[in-house]
Subunit: 377 residues, 2 copies
């Protein structure tokens, strides 16, 4: 059975990337590796739309999130965290753990926090050092208005840190022109590479803050990486084969062009949403829908886990369930990275059959595919 | 030009492992991934020779080292670190950074620290909470007497933490019968998998210590991983394709059997050392030679970097240079993991030609290969 992986990460790996990962191993202190690292960082800058330094860690995206906290802040510092879902809450948890006084801004899961409420809190609390936000909140499928947050933070000289693990290479993100100081991402979503690499871009202003941070860090220390990268070497053994893969994936993105990547993602998202509506299903989010993942409410009287199980076992289609408070209440369709339009159609077709078999019948047969095809033009 | 990679990690990847890494991506919260994770942990226990819990991190070996400190100790605690080279010194540095009062035991690089001096220090300082040691000190090619250290620490009820990044799957290591509380390793050396995964085994006694540690940790928190693994899932997105590769590499090791792996490594090390002597070269270490890496003194009046450069560019043979205070003074031949006897012969043959071309002529031609062949029988 052919398998279709439509989850919000890890995403399917293009054949070119898989082939690149087959290259014989090389030493990470070789001139050859140094050249690849340099090219990868240059191409990441293009994807991040930044001239800032970019560091590459051997870790999951969560490691990258932790690195942004331990390098910038100190115990007792104040920060705002926009927590509109599970990944925003993760920032709150890590911040609090390291002794940062967090002002969490929350909303219903599936909604986003209005940037104006961030401005209001910043004006009320002049001692806030940084704002932590999520580009795409993977748990609910919404996208935050980073452009407005960038403007608000710049005006108030507050640092803006954005978790773009799920958003980079999917949603429009202009690190420099929007004024985002620190952007965190990872290899396994929009970047079409297996998981195991995280990336952090660091503005001049953020570098200045690293000098006053008093949290001790060794593995995550930005300065260690920067100094080592400047010598053409990573400080510790990097995931060489994943870097081979990333190098190829970044070439693919560059060949296509960022604007076109974003446009392709918009088209896939539109097709998915129209298909879902054609199945008589309801989206979790009312607005600010992300282009990388769509969260769908499980119809009443149907077991959400059963939908996912039958899809996987009978049709080879893997979707994701809900996380934490949304467990069992939603399912999520990932359409970021190397997902093709036909994968969306296959998933919608299988979903139609599974829903019918489970008793959800209140929709016109074939309507999902039809609407998806129209929207995906 | 065929390339020969004889460095002490990352090591060449067996075709079986490369093929396994080509499997289509799967979700890390799927039952399928849960089964692989379970099997990988079971097989790691065999390689570690332990019944203790083993956790798998997305990080380099250094991340595993850091995790052992932040989970076990608190600022102000006392610890001994055996620092016989660059990696022992890394423990000292991380420990000190996190506020641990370190008593470093040092020796000439190329020698090892006598376990009796550890016993003496432990008897003098009854408040020492843990001893940190390195199985194979990669920077000098020596192996520490972990068995004796285990006995000494057990007798005094002091925790023993061993960095076996370079040693696991190469040197005899019997975690449980030697009484090693925490063993740290990584994927890219004896385990024949690309870098990007680190492993930590944790004894009951070590688990108890995690309860009193007051260093905050999020990404490295042992308890988070243990609880998540018990549900068949990693807490954060793991390097799925590397885990596919590791799964296959561990099967290979199990098929061969640990005793035979150790015996094969001993044979390769013997052949390498005899070959080096046949070239009229001197080993850095006088005794306690590791079976994974051999450090060789650069002959006087010859530029060590030139040897490595010509070997690489003209013969496709990559060896490693010296680190830190041994920079330019030694070169190192890695013979751990998926290194074949013929690779050693190729390296020795190329080395003979390069040495001759650079003016080192005081040895009998062909002697290196002859002695290596005899020793490798």
């Amino acid at each position: 059975m052919h398998r279709y992986l439509l989850i919000p990460g890890p995403t399917p790996i293009p054949p070119r990337v898989l082939r690149a990962m087959q290259r014989p191993m090389i030493g990470h202190r070789s001139p050859e590796y140094g050249e690849i690292l340099k090219r990868v960082v240059e191409n990441l800058k293009y994807v991040f739309q930044t001239g800032n330094d970019i560091l590459v860690f051997s870790s999951s995206g969560t490691g990258g999130m932790e690195s942004s906290i331990v390098n910038l802040l100190s115990s007792g510092d104040k920060a705002i965290a926009l927590a509109s879902g599970a990944f925003g809450e993760r920032f709150v948890k890590i911040l609090e753990g390291f002794g940062v006084e967090v002002l969490p801004l929350r909303c219903e899961w599936g909604e986003v926090i209005n940037p104006r409420s961030v401005a209001r809190e910043l004006d009320r609390n002049r001692d806030i050092k940084a704002v932590f936000a999520t580009l795409v909140e993977t748990s609910t499928g919404v996208v935050n208005d980073i452009k407005s947050l960038g403007r608000i933070c710049r005006e108030r000289k507050t640092l803006l840190v954005v978790d773009a693990v799920s958003g980079l290479g999917v949603e429009e993100l202009r690190t420099d022109s929007w004024g985002v100081d620190v952007v965190i991402s990872a290899s396994q979503k929009g970047l079409m590479t297996p998981p195991g690499l995280s990336f952090v871009s660091i503005s001049e202003r953020a570098w200045e803050m690293t000098q006053t941070s008093r949290i001790y860090r060794f593995y995550w220390d930005f300065k260690t990486y920067k100094e080592s990268f400047e010598k053409g070497q990573p400080p510790y053994t990097p995931p060489v084969s994943l870097v081979f893969g990333l190098d190829e994936a970044l070439k693919m993105i560059k060949e296509e062009g960022m604007e076109k990547v974003w446009e392709r993602q918009r088209r896939l998202a539109r097709a998915t949403r129209e298909g879902i509506k054609g199945l008589g299903l309801e989206l979790l989010a009312k607005g600010n829908l992300s282009h990388g993942v769509t969260a769908v409410k499980v119809p009443e009287n149907i077991d959400g886990w059963e939908i996912l199980k039958v899809l996987r076992e009978k049709y080879g289609v893997t979707l994701a369930g809900g996380q934490e408070r949304l467990r069992g209440k939603i399912f999520r369709i990932g359409h970021m990275g190397y997902i093709q339009f036909k994968d969306i159609l296959v998933a919608l077709g299988a979903l139609e059959k599974v829903l019918l078999s489970l008793g959800h019948k209140d929709f016109r047969r074939g309507e999902a595919i039809k609407r998806a095809k129209e929207a995906g033009k």
